[in-house]
């Protein structure tokens, strides 16, 4: 960049980037005004706003911000489609779908297991080990959590046993990926099969055809005294599960750990430049081992939320692909805890929406189920910004 460019940039009052962002905001507003509480019953304001958004996007692209500009245009197109759908449906329908307090509560419920597993993924992959076995580790937590809670009589022990089981399976993954220098994606796939087999086998072995017992100790919901009966907040946050709050609290904690503590910096160093880390005396093998085991324990907590936290029982393959969604959330969130949280909330919102749409129009609700995956596909295709994995992610370290 030449000196001239630097001198010119501050003198321009509006940068193409800011115009592009304004375009995205306009596009979002174009849709939001057609849903409760505003509920505009005409397409005119939406179309006006969307035209502004497209113009802003085009201007932004012309100014060199191709990515943000094209995002503004894409969001505007989605907004017009969404607005057309809301304007053409009855007010009563709209209000039953967009019951915001219920939507928020359901979003949190769906996002919680994903948050734990996605954070686990962040830990493992920051240290340089791809963990596609999150699904299997979740499933282990799911079953052994119930087993522990049943055997030892308390959900606390359930969670402890779940973490141990997830950590143990992660240990297998660590051994294959770190010591045996296995292809980590293949090893992770094997882990998933193994977990499906182990949990199914021991469910049948311990509980037989009747399934898990009914009176399992469950993780309690947190009743917040102040806001429990305060309208929207009461319904949305007043009685969320304890694990939801733990999951959310883990996000800043993990961010602090990874970016502000010595141990966290070391972990990331091993994931980015293992040779350099080894040269300064860090044990790449040991750090990666702990990271993978921790990721298994985190994922298992996510699985345990499903069984011990929410449902109170276990059924075969209960996680049903949530580990893969958490993996996608981690990538969508650019391998960062906060990013992963937002992505999980987005996926949770997609699920919550499809539930509510299903109650009005079951056919359409099914298509909504696919929406989070389409968004992820768009995200990994780079529309939301090229995300970069840790430099040594997936590469076994061989000491020279």
């Amino acid at each position: 960049m030449s000196v001239g460019t630097i001198a010119v940039t501050p003198s321009r009052s509006v940068s193409p980037k800011h115009v592009g962002i304004a375009g995205i905001v306009f596009a979002a507003i174009a849709w939001v005004i057609t849903i409760p509480p505003i509920e505009a019953r005409s397409m005119v304001p939406t179309i006006v706003l969307a035209v502004f958004a497209v113009a802003a996007g085009a201007w932004s692209i012309a100014g060199g911000e191709r990515k943000i500009g094209s995002e503004a245009i894409v969001v505007a197109l989605f907004a017009v489609a969404g607005a057309a759908a809301s304007v053409n449906s009855a007010t009563a329908t709209l209000e039953s779908v967009f019951t915001w307090s219920a939507l928020v509560a359901a979003t949190l419920r769906y996002a919680t297991p994903l948050v734990f597993a996605a954070l686990g993924g962040v830990i493992s992959e920051s240290s340089g080990v791809i963990n596609i076995g999150l699904e299997g580790m979740m499933l282990m937590g799911c079953f052994w959590g119930i087993y522990g809670a049943d055997l030892l009589g308390s959900w606390v022990w359930g969670l402890v046993v779940a973490m141990l089981a997830g950590g143990l399976l992660a240990l297998v993954h660590a051994f294959f990926s770190i010591n045996l220098r296995a292809n980590q994606i293949v090893s992770g796939t094997g882990i998933n099969f193994l977990a499906l087999g182990i949990t199914g086998y021991f469910l049948e072995y311990h509980y037989g055809p009747n399934g898990t017992p009914l009176n399992i100790s469950q993780v309690p919901n947190v009743k917040i005294p102040g806001i429990q009966h305060v309208g929207f907040f009461g319904a949305a946050f007043g009685s969320a599960n304890l694990m939801t709050w733990i999951g959310i609290a883990l996000v800043p904690a993990l961010t602090f750990y990874l970016f502000r503590t010595r141990a966290g910096l070391r972990l990331r160093a091993v994931g980015e430049k293992p040779r350099a880390a080894d040269t300064v005396g860090l044990s790449v093998v040991r750090i990666r081992y702990w990271a993978v085991i921790a990721s298994g324990a985190f994922a298992a907590l996510g699985g345990a939320y499903l069984s011990v936290g929410f449902v109170g029982s276990f059924s075969n393959n209960m996680t049903n692909g949530r580990g893969f969604i958490a993996l996608a959330a981690m990538i969508f969130g650019k391998w960062r805890p906060w990013g992963a949280l937002w992505a999980c909330l987005l996926f949770g919102f997609g699920n919550a929406m499809s539930d509510r749409v299903s109650s009005v129009n079951p056919t359409l609700g099914t298509l909504f189920e696919a929406l989070p995956y389409v968004l992820t596909l768009v995200a990994v295709a780079g529309l939301v910004g090229r995300s970069r994995p840790p430099a040594a992610d997936g590469i076994p370290y061989v000491r020279e």
Partner: protein, 417 residues
Amino acid sequence: MSLLEEELQAEADESQGAAATSPAALTAFRRGASGVIVPIITAVIAFIAGGLIVLATGHNPLTTYQSIFNGTGLNWLFPWVTGSERATAATNLQQTLLNATPLILVGLAVAFAFRAGMFNIGGQGQYTVGGIVAVWVGSSFNGMPSVLHILFAIVAAAAAGGAWAGIAGVLKATTGANEVISTIMLNWIAIWVGVYCFQLGGPLHNPHMASTPVSNSVVGGAKLPVFWGSAQLQGLDVGIFISLALAVVFGLLIKRTRLGYEARTVGFNPDAASYAGVNVGRTWIRVMLICGAFAGVAASLDILGWKFDLFTNDIQVSQIGFYGIAVALLGRNTASGTVAAAVLFGALLTGTSNRNINLSIDPTLVQYLTFMIEGMIILLVSTDVITLRLLKGGRQLRIALKRKPAEKAPASQDGAS
């Protein structure tokens, strides 16, 4: 792979002094080690480990495995099995081969991508869209000439599967999107699209089934002819031959065509391939298109061969894409290996299905034991180190045993080389 070479090289160096190994013998040993011995050892270890779990939970692993084996129908191959036992075995073997038919193709869909350095987890989604299209074509166009109708359905399913996989290929080539994530996402999208199509009130739902979410049934003319067993009782249809023929095509494609050569070059090292003038992005796209086509054909053979209609539940619980990964890995991404591994997995699926297990052990336990064995097989094939160590150990033992009688001879020279 380089690790394998390394180990074998080390082994070759070691044995040089001991036995006068000719280069040809060494090459033969390498082929054998990577092609046949390692997968067999892998499977044996997994079965033993699975047997230990059965033993630890208080059952007899030998009778369990025997009952699985008899359930696969492979005992039909023994001439001493006669009478009603033989008839049952024939029915079971037909099921095993019916299971193997799509597994071969889904395995090839994974294997071809592997050869080009990609991991196609999307076999499931490609199979699903192939199935949707096959059942639509097969249940429409009533009155079309039979052969034409069948070909049309298979080609349409191949095109659909190819297009679905092509999305991942194009994204990888143009934006660098990781194919592992994009194919996982495409799997889920395919499943929900399938559920949307056939659910109650869905666009392709069978209007005569008011309360069952299912597609229309494939018309008689589009059904594949059954050549072994009864057509009414799910006998073996000609789909297996189409599958085997495509495995041969796969072998030729990899070894004898320019695309196969380019794919292997890209798989070995994309940068070097690009430097050598191979269009890497285009190769990725073409490989994915072909992978998806294989998976699409797999679905069409299931639909036209014995399923005839598609329930939304089938779409949601199917695990075939993941079996395909195991098949390809155990088959070492070769045509013949994939066929053999597909038969093994097809046999396991048949042998552990509910109706085939005698009551010495709970059938549900056996089904989940299969998952564990599969998991262990995949884990073991993810690294060559364990099996090679065993192989090497065995070989050293053999060499040592051979040398025993002639101990006095030039043993001291061995260490030098």
